[in-house]
């Protein structure tokens, strides 16, 4: 398994620019990649590193969109329904629609939250 090097300077900005080599564990990424299909045989060393950055961007994008939903509902806490809503309303995240709707099938609209 290749070791994460000092790539933190690359494309500075985003979390990986500040918190050391990688913000996500490469070994775990590799496991998920291998799980994705039986066809996946060998994975080059750079692939998990590329995904580490890609996942960071993905999380940032989806989080930003979810936050927009939260703000509209005049809340300050992002709920999973906000994430679901963001997914449903973003074309490029169509592949996630089933995932978020089967998760949120139990709850309906975002409920007003009472602070503890």
């Amino acid at each position: 398994m290749r070791h994460p090097g000092a790539y933190s300077g690359l494309l500075a900005g985003g979390l990986s620019g500040k918190t050391g080599p990688h913000s996500l564990p490469l070994a775990r990424i590799k496991k998920i990649m291998k799980n994705s299909s039986d066809e996946v045989k060998m994975i080059s060393g750079e692939a998990p590193i590329v995904f580490s950055k890609a996942c960071e961007l993905f999380i940032e994008e989806l989080t930003k969109r979810a936050w927009m939903v939260t703000l509209k509902a005049k809340r300050r806490t992002i709920h999973k329904e906000d994430v679901a809503f963001a997914v449903i309303n973003t074309d490029i995240f169509d592949f996630l629609v089933n995932l978020v709707t089967e998760n949120s099938s139990k709850s309906e609209e975002p409920q007003p939250v009472m602070k503890a």
Binding site: G5, Y7, L10, L11, G14, L15, T19, S23, L24, P25, R28, I29, K31, I32, M33, N35, S36, S37, E39, V40, K41, M42, I43, S44, E46, A47, V50, F51, K53, A54, C55, E56, L57, F58, I59, E60, E61, L62, T63, K64, A66, W67, T70, R76, T77, I78, H79, K80, D82, V83, A84, V87, D91, I92, F93, F95, L96, L99, V100, N103
Partner: protein, 144 residues
């Protein structure tokens, strides 16, 4: 055996990345982080499947960074694809420089050895040392 957690990225890391992009007063529910974990894993699987499909069609065994960039683009994730292509390019350049630096420093080491006691080429002196050590193993055998 693949445990459930092995299929997800750690919630702490995911939460940190989410927090980083949000204003200070923003909060994230645990369920939202869990949902994000699942979405990221699905993202990785989705893109990897597409990339590995390409490898299979091209009779290649190893999935590389270019395949991922290609898959991102094919799946309509163009923004990601562009950024990742640039990242990959810089990463490869960085790796290339590292290799060149290593070569340069090992060349320097070789020069030092030749100017040493034996006056022999670096490889042969190393072999000599090893040969002596293997034969006797005693300190007298080392002296040559």
């Amino acid at each position: 055996m693949v445990e459930e957690q092995d299929k997800l990225l750690p919630i702490a890391n995911v939460g940190r990345i989410m927090k980083h992009i949000l204003p200070r007063n923003a909060k994230i529910s645990k369920e939202a982080k869990e949902t994000m974990q699942e979405c990221v894993s699905e993202f990785v699987s989705f893109v990897t499947s597409e990339a590995s499909d390409k490898c299979r069609k091209e009779n290649r065994k190893t999935l590389n960074g270019d395949d991922i960039c290609w898959a991102l683009s094919t799946l309509g994730l163009d923004n990601f694809s562009e950024v990742m292509s640039r990242y990959l390019h810089k990463f490869r350049e960085f790796e290339r420089q590292k290799v060149e630096q290593n070569k340069a420093s090992s060349n320097e080491e070789k020069d030092e050895v030749t100017s040493n006691v034996f006056g022999l080429k670096p490889n042969s002196s190393a072999l000599l040392e090893f040969g002596i050590l293997e034969k006797g193993g005693s300190s007298s055998a080392k002296r040559k």
